[in-house]
């Protein structure tokens, strides 16, 4: 039965233990080797619990979570597709999981080969010339990609390119990554069809522009039909084009960013390539680029000479490294297994079904909800609850909370920022028609409830273990850790 759990620290009972270690078989104690001034006087208040306490506690906690394996998770822009189980198994193979990063290359050839092939696969899918697997997440990939762009302009002596253009529909990480990189951010508005406003873009392009960051399909789920024109305009102004691959699940084998004129791209392996999100991470954010930018990629890249794979550090123009060692390798293994399982046709089929499922949901839901851009969508689409809000006072947040009572994870809400009372829905290709129909039924029932029993929606959820939580209290009086009571 699902129930709230005490904190693991509150289960602690002095003297209880869950660990076991062999007897120390060498002489000496720490205080003989390490001067007393460096030693701690008080033990950390870590829990003292038994093994059974630990497993019951965490099993109990897990039951308070909703995951893809528990049910439908149509969280827009997050691509919560099924995480194949074989991938979990192969990532735990001893030769992968127990491989030390400083092991000599001759005993790491399997891992290096896998990384080398993965670089090639991703380059093919992106239409790019070179790939680094090093970035640990999508935002980290953005940061890395922007560093490549800066290095490229610098090498050409164009030091004045200090601005990065982002559309008003962009993910928050785009402007944040550019700012962390020391760029100034210029926002460009969307046009009436949800794409980049070409006239507005023309006005901000100039010799001070480093690049335009674009998600395509964008966060409205719409493919920007002007992409070639946009690419030409940016290139004519001497800027580069950055592809935010968060939405790449719509285009595998159907459109390649490199063919559309993008110069740099990142992928989120934890979205498009099926690796699990882990409750917030780990992710993996490989970056691809055209050959003009390849010299600047982080060191090391995995290279091959004859039949031997090696880590190539001999790259004088490299931006340096962006993390320890080589990549979130364990995540790369899972994504590699996914690509090998799907093959070239399977990936196309996945994107087709992702788009089919999204359009199906949009068609079924637009009767009762405002479909803001009523045109073909790609892998996701946005609804607005503005009809409901105006007539009944029921807001998007209420609809999201009511969905919890039906066993569904709600869509992304209040994003993108340019749509009022926004619900951003991404079903992914791994959901069946029956699941989609059940979700439609729930959404239509909620629309009906909003019209006739609005209080029922406004006070939802009714069936979860906890009710709505007081977020403003958490921010006003931050309690960010448990504290032991004085003994």
């Amino acid at each position: 039965m699902k129930s709230l759990q005490p904190l693991i620290f509150e289960l602690s009972s002095p003297g209880r233990e869950a660990y076991s270690l062999p007897e120390q078989d060498v002489p000496g104690q720490a205080n003989e080797f390490i001067p007393a001034e460096f030693l701690r006087d008080r033990d950390p208040a870590l829990p003292e619990v038994s093994e059974v306490d630990v497993i019951r506690h965490f099993t109990g906690l897990s039951q308070l979570n909703h995951g893809v394996d528990t049910g439908f998770y149509p969280l827009g822009s997050c691509t919560m597709k099924y995480n194949p189980k074989i991938n979990e198994d192969v990532a735990r193979l001893g030769g992968f999981a127990n491989l030390h990063p400083l092991a000599p290359e001759e005993v790491a050839q399997g891992a290096l080969q896998l990384m080398y092939e993965m670089q090639q696969y991703l380059a093919e899918i992106a239409g790019m010339d070179a790939i680094t697997l090093q970035p640990a997440a999508g935002a980290h990939g953005e940061l890395t990609g922007l560093m490549l762009i800066r290095a490229y302009h610098r090498k050409r002596g164009e030091l004045g390119r200090t601005k990065v253009i982002v559309p008003d529909s962009a993910h928050g990480t785009n402007p944040a990554s550019a700012a962390v990189n020391g760029f100034q951010i210029v926002q460009v508005k969307s046009d009436g069809r949800g794409g980049v406003d070409i006239e507005a873009l023309k006005q901000v392009l100039g010799p001070d522009v480093a690049c335009l960051m674009l998600t395509n399909p964008n966060t409205l789920g719409l493919f920007d039909e002007n992409i070639r024109l946009i690419a030409d305009l940016v290139h004519q102004a001497g800027g580069l084009l950055y592809y935010d691959g968060a939405n790449a699940n719509a285009i595998m084998g159907i459109a390649r960013p490199g063919d559309a004129g993008f110069d740099v791209v990142h992928f989120n392996l934890h979205k498009t390539f099926s690796t699990p999100h882990g409750g917030g991470g780990p992710g993996s954010g490989p970056v691809g680029c055209k050959k003009e930018l390849a010299p600047f990629l982080p060191v090391p890249v995995v290279a091959r000479k004859d039949s031997r794979y090696f880590l190539d550090y001999d790259r004088p123009d490299s931006i340096g490294r962006v993390k320890s060692f080589y990549a979130n390798f364990g995540v790369v293994v899972k994504a590699y297994a996914y690509i090998r399982a799907m093959g070239p046709d399977g990936l196309v089929r996945a994107s087709e079904d992702a788009v089919l499922n999204a359009n199906y949901l949009a068609a079924k839901l637009k009767e009762k909800y405002h479909l803001v851009y009523d045109r073909l969508c790609k892998h996701e689409f946005v609804l607005s609850a503005d009809w409901q809000k105006r007539v009944t006072g029921v807001r998007t947040l209420d609809i999201a909370k009511r969905l919890l009572d039906f066993g569904f994870h709600p869509p992304t809400v209040y994003f993108p920022l340019i749509v009022e009372e926004c619900l951003m829905i991404e079903p992914t290709e791994t959901e069946s028609r029956e699941t989609l129909d059940a979700f439609v039924a729930a959404m239509l029932q909620i629309a009906d409830e909003a019209a006739h029993y609005p209080e029922k929606v406004k006070t939802a959820p009714h069936t979860t273990v906890v009710g709505r939580l007081d977020e403003s209290r958490a921010a006003r009086q931050p309690v960010l850790r448990w504290r032991p009571t004085a003994e």
């Binding site: 904190l7 660990y19 270690l21 060498v26 002489p27 720490a30 701690r40 208040a45 003292e48 619990v49 965490f58 906690l61 897990s62 979570n65 995951g67 528990t70 998770y73 597709k81 194949p84 979990e88 735990r92 193979l93 127990n98 491989l99 092991a103 005993v107 399997g110 891992a111 696969y121 999508g138 935002a139 928050g172 990554s177 760029f183 493919f223 285009i251 159907i254 882990g278 780990p282 340096g320 962006v322 993390k323 060692f325 390798f329 399982a341 499922n357 079924k364 994870h409 028609r433 959820p461 979860t464 273990v465 906890v466 939580l469 007081d470 977020e471 921010a475 931050p478 850790r481 448990w482």
Partner: protein, 446 residues
Amino acid sequence: MRYLPNTERDRELMLRAIGVGSVAGLFADIPDEVRFRGRLNLPPALSEPELAAHMKRLAARDADADEYACFLGGGAYDHYIPALVDHVISRSEFYTAYTPYQPEISQGTLQAIFEYQTAICELTGMDVANASIYDGATAVAEAVLMAHATNGRKRIVVSRAVHPDYRQTLKTYVAGMGLEVVEAGLIDGLTNSASLGELITDDTTCVIAQSPNFFGNIEDMAKFAELAHAKGALFVAVVDPISLGLLKPPGEYGADIVCGEGQSLGNPMAFGGPYLGFFATKMELVRRMPGRLVGETVDSRGQRGFVLTLQTREQHIRREKATSNICSNEALCALAALVYLSVMGKRGLKEVAAQSAAKAHYARERIASIPGWSAAFTAPFFKEFVVKAPVDGATVQKHLLTKKILGGTDLGRWYPELKNHLLFAVTEKRSRAEIDALVAALEEVR
């Protein structure tokens, strides 16, 4: 395809509902000139048995540390991972969830992060810890961005004894920001505190030192904190969380930010990742802190519950004004760390630290007594040490491999003056017999 449930009949029914004649019609909005008309040049699809066999063949070409005696260190360590850890993180309610944006159905992840934050605070002696950064290197880089945002100063003073990957990552991060990185030199495998002191100016945003440092030696962190604070700079302490079972928590020697690599806490070495960067600070700096934070609150029924909090620091709210661009972090690795710390508990962590230290000291003494070999430094050390060898690291490693032993990383790659100086790490997993076998193998190296 086994992961795709739509049948041809499903597709037909769905297309009819949409009012589009074919799947191709769904892509009519993609202009022809950017459509990919070829077939991706990728290997053909594999069935599950074929895939499993292929992956096993690749993995078999690598050194599984369980089949070797692993004495490698340098930022990734072969500590024992209790069986419970993988059982907990394999529960798919944890690993198939996203960031806990809907707290009513994410209390498992949220409470676990709250517990993780508490455990990190207890270890480090700090007020507040975030839900994780990518790894040790990026945690150091984020610490610098946070210091700069706090005091606006532009010089970073970092010890050369800090992990080379961390220093290189830091330099890459700040390259676009007009910040200056200066490095304090070494004496006897320790940071030269006189040189460090001279480099700290009124424009120094922070001072960074690591203890145990890259060579395993224990630094006088209290002294560095004092030098930093004398000029109004923040002090960033980079530490090994296992060492905190024994060593003084950085909060007690004046650290303002404490961060480091958390892999040792229940995460496999996995050829360098995914790991987790832990990150802790003082309460007065919390609003400049990067990354997610979980706070305690109450629900509409008066029950205790947990939510993501202080989100106005974060990119999805503040965009370019956020404290960091981080979005995905290493939540599942942090969960593994929490389970590890729960299993080891107060006494287990201390014993892991104590056994690692004792075994490392036994190993160094034995190796240093081999003719031609000597201890490189005299400073106190923890679980990792450097010895001066009569030959280079590649020769040593090659011979050790024939004995199924991993170890002896040559420091010349990062410190030209330390060529033929080899780094060894010894965890509680290594037995006396394995250490003796290492010594016997080193005696044979010519």
